[in-house]
């Protein structure tokens, strides 16, 4: 039984290691900033999730003492990670994208980041 538990825990650790690696590898391989933003989302979901599951199983099955505060790490990550991603994305739109390059914003005409500034404010060197 012990062996079975250890195999289960190792499985989750390996999964998290693989996705942590793919996340960091993506940062090198992907060339444009917006695509790079996608890489860390893997590290924060399955990468961290795998370690946390392994930790929960280890404390519950091997040490015999249930520990659930790992769930809080997931909760806080899910609260904070989208906000940092949004900040980086908005910065990118602010400095490097013109309204014509983005898809139609429908009835509102402009995306929120562009709505506060004049289009001419986008510096010349950042135009693609």
């Amino acid at each position: 039984m012990q062996l079975l538990f250890e195999i289960l825990i190792s499985f989750f650790l390996i999964v998290s290691g693989i996705f942590g690696f793919v996340g960091s590898f993506g940062m090198i391989k992907l060339k444009d900033p917006m695509s790079r933003l996608h890489a860390p989302t893997k590290a924060t979901t399955l990468g961290v999730g795998g370690v946390l599951l392994a930790s929960i199983f280890h404390s519950g099955l091997i040490e015999g003492q249930l520990s659930l505060h790992e769930l809080l790490i997931t909760l806080f990550l899910f609260l904070t990670a989208p906000i940092t991603a949004l900040f980086i994305a908005k910065w990118h739109i602010h400095r490097h994208e013109k309204p014509v390059d983005l898809p139609d914003a429908g009835e509102d005409e402009l995306w929120a980041t562009h709505a506060v500034e004049q289009v001419e404010d986008v510096p010349e060197h950042s135009a693609k």
Partner: protein
């Protein structure tokens, strides 16, 4: 009843804060339960003026279903995106912007939707339109932007609409 509402303006928040406190202590004991309850009563009471029109969650089974759907999608999308990163050449990849017209109007619901889109690998929500009617999403690899839009509307927005509105 009115007094009770004044003391517990957000009963769910009280419950959540107590639960988080007990989990933080990592050992269920009377101590942490009492202190968690104290925090759970004080924090919603003090922050009440800053969150006046909180939405009511209407459909609890749907909340559970939504969380399971999102967790499942995160696992699947992780694998898809890992394959894109490892095996697809940069030249073959088609990063794309997608504009999603929103039917949701509650700010909290839009926040949850945007957060979900960011946490599922392959898509990142980047901006709202000026009046909050559209959501701008960046896709890592989407030959067909319309399919991404339909999937997000079908899987997430429909369920959130039942939960919040």
């Amino acid at each position: 009843m009115k007094l009770l509402r004044r003391i517990f303006p957000h009963p769910h928040l009280t419950f959540l804060l107590t639960l988080v406190w007990i989990l933080l202590a990592n050992k269920p004991s009377l101590n942490s339960l009492v202190f968690g309850l104290i925090l759970g009563i004080i924090i919603p009471f003090i922050t009440q003026p800053y969150w006046p029109d909180r939405p009511k969650l209407r459909n609890w089974p749907m909340v559970v279903e939504y969380m399971l759907v999102v967790l499942w999608d995160i696992v699947i999308a992780n694998i898809t995106v890992a394959r894109i990163i490892l095996f697809k050449r940069n030249a073959d990849r088609q990063p794309n912007w997608v504009s999603i017209p929103l039917e949701l109007r509650t700010p909290e619901a839009i926040t949850v939707l945007a957060g979900t889109i960011t946490m599922t690998p392959g898509t990142v929500s980047c901006d709202l339109s000026a009046q909050g009617h559209n959501l701008l999403v960046h896709c890592l690899d989407s030959p067909d932007p319309n399919a991404v839009r339909d999937q997000i509307k079908q899987r997430y927005e429909r369920r959130l609409k039942e939960i919040f509105e």
